[in-house]
């Protein structure tokens, strides 16, 4: 660690196992170790200064969804809220990467689902919560309901020396970011040095992961071209309801587990059917989970830790058995 950092490989994967958490190295805002210590001292609470932080990503809660792959409805989401509330210290902020709600053709019913989402997310002790829409939130009405509840569908902010960018690749109805938003992104990033750590959060993958399952963004290449000059780009997304880690150029892309039901590993055949993994009542929260991202600018690291909700330290088997016994999920 005493060795000077190679700025070109400013954020690189040093431990790639997703289950164990991937460790990424970064150096915020090209400062020296002394500068960062000063930053830590000065910016202990304002969120702007480089320093240690932890954030949580929750994805695809699909509030309002009812169906066989998840007869538990919002139970996993509620369990995740309890798990996050138990973290000590608490994370600085929560990122929700889309499909907060499950859509309804009836706008009044969909509005109720937004309210139900907020009732549950409102129980989080962390009040700084950032959202991007998924297609189930915003594709039928172009994002109207989402905006009413959460504001703009794309925006950016700085936290602890990391620049966060929220991108909307759903509300046009198609898997697309669009020229206007890409122009905005270019402008937004222009003030940053190439070494600035950037976290992009969005719903769909920004690359062709499985286009036949709509796991792609049609102009994702253009977005990645805008991000390409930056050495330390991490993209956090949801949509695919399973873990995935991919490297595109210098950027790292992480899909999060959902909090409703999981999709399987996609088979190679283009025509393979996309259907959720069946519900397993002996392990009701299997393949569902939360993600914690921790950064430490003194140690120049950013690590992504994915934890399944079935994991003992998070939920405890007793709680699960309790839910099974009450049978209120059937």
């Amino acid at each position: 660690m005493a060795k000077p950092f190679d700025r070109r490989s400013f954020m690189r994967l040093s431990a790639a196992s997703l289950g164990a958490g991937a460790l990424l190295r970064f150096m915020p805002f090209g400062s020296t170790a002394n500068g960062m210590t000063l930053g830590n001292l000065l910016g202990s609470r304002n969120g702007e200064a480089p320093g240690p932080f932890s954030i949580v990503q929750l994805s695809d809660t699909h509030v309002g969804f009812q169906g066989p792959p998840d007869p538990l409805g919002t139970k996993a989401f509620e369990r995740a809220v309890d798990a996050v509330n138990a973290l000590n210290p608490q994370p600085d902020l929560i990122l929700f990467t889309g499909d907060l709600t499950h859509d309804s053709e009836d706008p009044a019913e969909h509005a109720k689902r937004f309210a139900a989402f907020k009732a549950i997310s409102g129980r989080l002790r962390v009040k700084k919560q950032m959202h991007v829409p998924g297609e189930h939130d915003a594709a039928l009405d172009g994002g109207t309901l989402f905006r009413e509840h959460f504001g703009e569908t794309h925006y950016s902010f700085d936290h602890r020396g990391v620049h966060f960018v929220a991108l909307d690749n759903v509300s046009a109805g198609k898997p697309i970011v669009g020229a206007e938003q890409i122009a905005w992104l270019k402008k937004d990033l222009a003030r940053f040095p190439k070494t600035a750590p950037i976290v992009v959060f969005t719903h769909r993958p920004l690359f062709d992961l499985k286009p036949e399952w709509e796991w792609f963004t049609s102009d994702g290449d253009e977005v990645m071209n805008v991000l390409a000059p930056y050495d330390a780009v991490t993209v956090l997304y949801g949509h695919i309801h399973r873990l995935n880690h991919s490297t595109i150029g210098k950027s790292q892309h992480y899909a999060a587990r959902s909090l409703i039901f999981a999709f399987p590993e996609p088979p190679a055949a283009s025509t393979a059917e996309k259907k959720p993994l069946p519900f397993d009542k002996t392990q009701p929260f299997r393949n569902l989970g939360i993600r914690e991202i921790t950064g430490n600018s003194t140690r120049h690291t950013l690590s992504v830790n994915d934890v399944e909700l079935t994991s003992r330290e998070l939920s405890g088997t007793e709680g699960v058995q309790q839910i099974l016994k009450t049978g209120d999920f059937l």
């Binding site: 109805g173 898997p175 286009p211």
Partner: protein, 119 residues
């Protein structure tokens, strides 16, 4: 077609002759394939294409906006009621390829798809 109609040949024969004349011409316009979309299906559901033969896809919708996406052939169309869309493509690879609706259209959207078979 008009010249055949005027000569009062039975319609089946008309079609055969028309088809024959199309095959005989060396520089024919691409074959047109009509695909119609509604929630949550495509009609027809399977379309067979010939490898290296250009085809024009004429895509229509009868209820709302839908997409037709086949990444492999660069088909990426959007149609709405009264707003059809066309593209001419030439598949160069044999096999079965999934086409999906990539314009979100409601609860059954995730399973709205069809198959292109290239022989």
């Amino acid at each position: 077609m008009n010249r055949f109609n005027k000569s009062l040949i039975p319609s089946l024969l008309t079609l055969l002759l028309a088809a024959a004349s199309v095959v005989a011409q060396p520089e024919t316009p691409a074959r047109v394939i009509e695909i119609s979309a509604k929630k949550f299906e495509f009609t027809p559901n399977v379309v067979t294409l010939k490898k290296d033969e250009p085809v024009t896809i004429h895509f229509t919708s009868t209820d709302r906006a839908h997409g037709l996406l086949v990444k492999e052939f660069k088909i990426d169309l959007d149609a709405d009621v009264g707003k059809p869309a066309d593209v001419t493509v030439t598949p160069h690879e044999a096999g079965s390829f999934a086409a999906i609706c990539d314009h979100y259209c409601g609860s059954g959207h995730g399973n709205m798809k069809m198959t292109f078979v290239v022989e």
